[in-house]
């Protein structure tokens, strides 16, 4: 299936969870995740599986004023 991760179209096997995604991309920062403009809480990363066409945003804290 095709999903968009931080704006980039990516091919992923069906059944991929948010947790799989975090591990696959080796994201070590503390992050927050939004799928199709809805927050997915950290406690649901394992359970929430992605669907074809999902728009995933993975964000973190960075320097800013």
């Amino acid at each position: 299936m095709q999903v968009f991760i931080n704006g980039k179209q990516t091919e992923l096997p069906s059944g991929t969870s948010v947790q799989n995604l975090i591990e696959q991309f080796d994201i070590r920062d503390k992050v927050a995740v939004e799928i199709n403009e809805e927050i997915v809480s950290r406690s649901r990363f394992e359970l929430h599986t992605l669907e074809d066409g999902d728009r995933v945003e993975i964000v973190r804290a960075i320097g800013g004023g």
């Binding site: 991760i5 931080n6 704006g7 980039k8 991309f25 080796d26 994201i27 070590r28 920062d29 503390k30 992050v31 927050a32 995740v33 939004e34 403009e37 927050i39 809480s41 950290r42 945003e57 993975i58 964000v59 973190r60 804290a61 960075i62 320097g63 800013g64 004023g65």
Partner: protein, 265 residues
């Protein structure tokens, strides 16, 4: 110092702070400089931005949340870069998730890329949505006393008028408006944006502001850590001068030494 109130605290949303200087974390050379400047500033409230993770790159890049640990500082996620109410609200919700339910946010909804002036109607919309959703909103606004009052009435925990455009370093451009906003307010008023050097920070505090939030004035100084220390002192000096109450201005001289008792006539 003996005449000063022993505990002159800034209260934001019921939480007391001894420092009235709030700082941003942008534009520093690296995380180490960020950390050292924040320490030198004495700030207890630190703002930062929310951006996409670098997927698959810079894996060992230091994390801002390690430099600014939430157990040491009050973290203030901001909506910098948002030009509409919807993205500002989404940013705040992501920030709340990122910080495990932390509700305090700095809202800014920008209306113009050149001046970074706020889009006030969009800021009002976002404020209403965020407050309904349980956020504690510190709002960036222009120096209009009517709008400042409106944001207070909506329930913002602090109102933060600009003193000059973000990152401009032009200083307090409209002191009369800032003073009017302070006089009318029942929530903390913090100058957010425009300060260029320590005397600007002191001027903001002498106008009666409850605090100042700044980023570029420290980060773009030749020596940011030294400027952070200067800003801390500027804020403290301005605050004490405000509490002390300045002398009246006179058109002509008033001799400091007595006239009586001079040995010459």
């Amino acid at each position: 110092m003996t005449e000063k109130q022993p505990q002159d605290l800034l209260l934001i949303n019921g939480k007391p702070y001894t420092s009235r200087l709030l700082v941003g974390t942008g534009k520093y050379r690296d995380m180490e400089e960020t950390k050292r400047a924040i320490e030198a500033s004495g700030a207890q409230i630190v703002t930062f931005a929310i951006r996409r993770s670098n997927i698959g790159q810079n894996r060992d890049e230091p994390n801002l949340l390690d430099a600014v640990p939430p157990d040491k500082y009050t973290l203030l996620p901001n909506t910098a870069g948002c030009f509409d109410a919807e993205t500002a609200v989404r940013t705040c919700r992501l920030a709340r998730e990122l910080l495990d339910g932390h509700n305090l946010v700095k809202l800014e909804v920008l209306g113009d890329k050149k001046t970074l002036y706020p889009d006030i109607p969009a800021t009002l919309d976002a404020t209403k949505t965020l407050i309904e959703d349980g956020f504690d909103v510190m709002v960036y606004t222009n120096d209009d006393p009517v709008m400042a009052k409106r944001f207070e009435e909506l329930g913002c925990v602090a109102v933060m008028p600009l003193a000059a455009p973000i990152g401009s370093g032009l200083g307090i451009r409209n002191p009369y408006n800032i003073r009017t906003i302070v006089e009318n307010a029942h929530v903390p008023i913090l100058v957010d944006a425009g300060v260029g050097t320590a005397s600007d920070a002191a001027v903001a505090m002498e106008l009666g502001c409850d605090g100042v939030l700044m980023n570029t004035a420290i980060a773009e100084a030749k020596n940011p850590v030294l400027m952070a220390s200067a800003m801390k002192k500027g804020i403290e000096a301005g605050r004490e001068a405000w509490l002390a109450g300045r002398m009246p201005r006179r058109a002509y001289a008033s001799a400091s030494s007595p006239i009586d008792g001079t040995f010459f006539t």
